[in-house]
Each structure stands twice: as structure tokens, then as C-alpha cells.
Symmetry: C2
Subunit: 337 residues, 2 copies
């Protein structure tokens, strides 16, 4: 059984455990600082597929297969797949997962989809409705660029606040039984919109949602940043992280000493020329399902918050002059139940 | 607590109750056979908004507000909003729901999104993680046509198998406490793909998924169509319904006497010139959150299955020669706990 703590936070009675995880990334990610932690690095950014969208589906499929292999589990042992991506109508997930014969719950929370999935899968397991769930998300630099911005062939110059969409997918198995790390609490976020209209500045659009969810969680649980080894955000990048610090400062909360952002971990910002950092629904899932889960398992981190953030825009909304709403979903992970 | 029955079906220990519901539709829907059952019929298909996408957001917002009004509930009493639509990056939901200050769980299951949401919201309530959830989906004929097919101004001729996207939104409040009707069981579906490639024949693409989910549910629960007053599908239309009968016949199951399809209920197929029926993520939600829930409440229906079906395509996947995967999620609703 789950229960509410404070206004928004869910506390799980039987916290599900991370049983296995896998990450599949492209060439550029394989040249970055986390290279040694990924399961699969493909130096051909197409993965041998004929289109970028098919490549993205392929990465999800490979990530799920690799996770199942590492969990030593058959498809039939998985109750539900929670999946999502950034492509129109989430085709990376639908096409990538159609062969698994596992019920699929499609999600859309932009780059916050991964923690949305972890949260929903945890409630599902805690409720007794399933024993094992897989959560997977993906993104691909080339499929995102041509869908959201410009064709790569156009060679458009990137603005300093822009972020580089990760070519990657991360997947994990969450189980009722296990040795941890465990998902203990969840705080799903509201949609926040402070009127940012620059589609090349996602960090700024997402920071208010990150601030809102984090504030709610601290208030509900009566904890402070000092209670955690790490506060990990999804892909705020440099601009979004600074803005988050600024927004939290107004509330007298300082997370700087504890904060890290997947969008700042996966690339070497200077050497790899990615401007304000990385982004994409596959950014935080590939970083979390490699480097972070390893550090948790090794005991280098024991108690952390993981909050992915999403910018809920489309090219249509931007072209119609709309601002960019953001959303952030948080999970609390610990090595002890 | 929830438990698994058979292989895929979830049985809820404390079935959530439908507390209130509302439907908001456009002019054409208001001229159809269900006109008297809708809460709001807007004869200006723009609802006074400047774009079709903004109109769709507006419909979701109006449907949620109307539902809350009928439930006599404030925003603060709702724990989570489960929402989705067919627009790229689900902007109808993100923009329509940004003002409610309620955590939003974005979903994408194409036209199966509504029952996906009802199922997830039920598990959430049953688990103890919340007392009240709102589920809402929408679609708009004009936003769908220009996104998925052709600009309306082009005046393209519709094929006989094509379906007319409903301009509408349906929303409901599911609660821990209530007098019913209750959601007792849930069967989430796998992605099925028999290779249909005609994007103007969604019914055919969705029928295999409908068959698979229904078969699994009957097997898990050891029930037959005779055990239910109604087996309601989302928007299979004429072509999809016939194909579903055909697929089920091979398994010696005959649902004809019990079956009805929201896509065949909302319009008068002959008089309103909608070819194979209606479709869209707002089709089954607006029909269910009006006519069907009224019939349940009045006791004209006491025990039913509601299975929405989704065609998981995008214009990109179609242009790349891909087939159309389908998915179907089923919920079992009864007037007795």
C-alpha cells in the first residue's frame, strides 16, 4: 500500500527494487566522460537502420533486451512496460517495443517521462498489480533536430543556451523483491509556465517546474538538501541549473553542494561543443541506468533524489507564439528500505 | 491492494467509483444521436480560440472544470490528472491543464489513452496514493486533419474506410469513496501489428489489438460475453468492428449481441456522412462521459467492459512505409463492488 505524505508526496510501503539496468548510446556519448559506464556504444549513429526514427526504436529495443538479459528474466516475467519518447505520437516506443508481447503503458512527459514512468511503475508494483516492470525512454539527436528544429543538412548555427539531444536509451527493471536500490517516495509535479518562449532555451522553461516539485517534496517530507547524498536533475543544463539555484535561493534553499544534472554529466561541455549541456528523454535515462545506478549499487551514493524535467512544447505551439510549460517528476531512491 | 487474476488482468480490492463526469463537444457531434447527453455543445467549432490546437486545449480545460463543478470538488481535492491527446507532444493536454495546479501524468496511447488513464488512475487510488483522480482526453477534427492528413482547405476526398475525428473531450472524477459505478478489473494490452499500412483504415489496424486484449481478459477471468450487459469499444468503426468479430469468431467467441462502439454511436453514419464511423481520443471519452455513464447510473447497464483502441502511427512512420501497430486497454465496470 502507498500513502500520501504531506500534500503531494507518495510513500511506498513495499519500495520496489532496481533489479537490472542497461544503457545504449551513440558515438558522441561514447566519446564523453561516462563512456566506460554504458553497456552499448554504437559508433554508427544509424545503428544500421535506414532512418533516424527507426534507429531510436532500435535503441529502445536493444536497451530493454539488454536489461532483461542482465536481469536474467524472460519477457513473460515482466508485467508492464512503461515507455515514452519525444517523437510525434511516441513512435520510438510503439515501434521499438511491439515485439515484446508485454502490455505497454505509453507515457508523454517530454524529458520528464523517465521519472514519470519510474513513479507509475513503482505504484503499480507496490499496489500488488505486478511484480516486475520495465521503464524505458529514448531520444536521438538527429530525429529530434529534424522534428523540432531544422534538418541537419541546413547547418543552422546553435544558440549559446541550446542543448544537445542525447542519442541514447536507458531501461531498467523494477521488482517487488530485490536487494535495492529502492524507490521509497514519489512526487509528481504540476505543469508550470512562467512565460518563457525561446524554444532554444529549454533549461529556463523547465527550471520553474523543477523548483515547484522540489519545494513540495521538501515541505511534504520535512527534509532539506543536507539529508541527501545527491539531488540529480534530468537535463536542466547550465542555464536551467543556474535558474533553479536562483529560484530556490528565494525560498532560502541551497542545493548547489548536492546538485548534479545528467545534462551536464554526459558530455564534456567544452571539448564536445554542446553549448548549455545535453537534453532529451534519453539523456537522464541513459545516465541513470549506467553511471548513477552503479554508484548507488557500489554505495558511493546511498540516498538521493532524482528529478527529470520536461519542456512540454511542440513546433506547433511555438509557431503559434505560445510559451513553454514545464513539468518535473521526482523520485526518492535509497539503498535501505 | 490489487492482485493479478490469470496472466494479465488486475483485480482491485477497493474499486474506485465514478463520482462525476462531463463532456464538451463541437457542432457536428451536437447534431448527432447523442446530442441530449452532452454537457456542452459549442456551435462555433473554434470555441472562440484563434487556432484549432488552442480550441482542443480549451475543450480539455472546460471538460475538467465542468466535471469538478458536477463533483462539487475544488482543484485541491484532486490528487492527479491523467491526460492525453493525439497532437504532437500532447499539447492539447499540456496547455489545457497548466492552470489547474494539480500534478499531471501525461499519457500517450493514441485513441486508447482514455482507458489507459482510467486503469492507471484506478491502480493509483486502490494503492492508497490518492483519493481522487481526474482522467481526460480530447481530439479535434480540424487539428487532427491538418496534422495527420491534409489541410481542410485542400478538400481531399475521404476513402470509404476513413473515420471522422470527433471534436470533443470527456473527463471524469474517479474516487476512493462513492456509490459507483465502480472499476473492478483492468487489462492493459500489448502492441499488436498485423501489417496494415493504410493510414485511412485505422479500424483494421486496431482490431487485432482489441481481439488480443479481449481474449486475454476472458481467459484470465473465465468469463464470456454473456456475463456482460455491454462490451463497448472505443472507435473501431464499421470496418474495425467487423474485423474484430471475424478475429474472435476464429476463437469461437461471439460478441455481436453485446457489442457497441463509441465510433458508431456518436454520429448518424448515413445522415452525417462520416464514412466508417468516428474516431479520435475524444470520441470514446465524450461518449463514455455522457451517454454511457448515464446508462450505468440509471441501471440500464450494470456490468460492462470498456475497451478503447489506439492506432500508434505518426505521419513520419507512415511516410517511411511502416505498418500501423495497435493497442487496446480494457476496464471492467460494474454497479456493484
Amino acid at each position: 500500500m502507498a500513502k500520501k505524505v504531506g500534500i503531494r508526496t507518495i510513500e511506498l510501503t513495499t519500495p520496489p527494487s532496481f533489479t537490472a539496468w542497461a544503457s545504449v548510446v551513440g558515438k558522441k556519448e561514447g566519446e564523453g566522460p561516462l563512456a566506460q559506464h554504458f553497456d552499448v556504444i554504437n559508433n554508427d549513429t544509424t545503428f544500421g537502420e535506414s532512418t533516424w526514427e527507426k534507429t531510436e526504436s532500435r535503441m529502445q529495443k536493444d536497451a530493454v533486451n539488454k536489461t532483461l538479459e542482465k536481469a536474467v528474466m524472460a519477457n513473460t516475467q515482466i508485467d508492464y512496460l512503461f515507455a515514452g519518447d519525444l517523437l510525434n505520437q511516441c513512435i520510438a516506443s510503439s515501434f521499438g517495443l511491439r515485439e515484446f508481447d508485454i502490455p505497454v503503458l505509453g507515457l508523454y512527459g517530454a524529458c520528464a517521462t523517465f521519472t514519470e514512468g519510474l513513479g507509475l511503475a513503482s505504484v503499480m508494483i507496490d499496489s500488488g498489480a505486478g511484480n516486475n516492470c520495465v521503464v524505458v525512454t529514448s531520444s536521438h539527436f538527429a530525429s529530434a533536430e529534424r522534428q523540432f528544429r531544422l534538418p541537419l543538412e541546413y547547418g543552422g548555427q546553435r544558440t549559446p543556451t541550446s542543448q544537445w539531444t542525447v542519442t541514447g536509451s536507458g531501461a531498467c527493471v523494477l521488482s517487488k523483491e530485490g536487494q535495492g536500490p529502492f524507490i521509497k517516495q514519489i512526487c509528481f509535479g504540476t505543469i508550470e509556465d512562467l512565460g518563457i518562449k525561446d524554444a532554444n532555451n529549454m533549461g529556463a522553461a523547465m527550471a520553474p517546474a523543477a523548483c515547484s516539485t522540489l519545494m513540495h517534496f521538501f515541505e511534504d517530507t520535512q527534509t532539506t538538501p543536507e539529508d541527501y547524498d545527491l539531488i540529480l536533475t534530468g537535463d536542466l543544463g547550465q542555464v536551467g541549473s543556474s535558474l533553479l539555484y536562483e529560484l530556490l535561493e528565494k525560498e532560502n534553499i541551497d542545493i548547489k553542494a548536492k546538485h548534479s544534472d545528467c545534462g551536464l554529466l554526459i558530455f564534456d561541455l567544452e571539448k564536445q561543443d554542446v553549448h548549455a549541456g545535453a537534453s532529451g528523454a534519453g539523456c537522464c535515462s541513459s545516465v541513470f541506468c549506467s553511471y548513477i545506478l552503479k554508484r548507488l549499487k557500489d554505495g558511493n551514493i546511498n540516498n538521493m533524489l532524482f528529478m527529470a524535467t520536461g519542456a512540454l512544447l511542440s513546433t506547433t505551439s511555438t509557431q503559434q507564439g505560445e510559451s513553454i510549460p514545464g513539468v518535473a517528476h521526482l523520485i526518492h531512491i535509497s539503498n535501505t528500505k
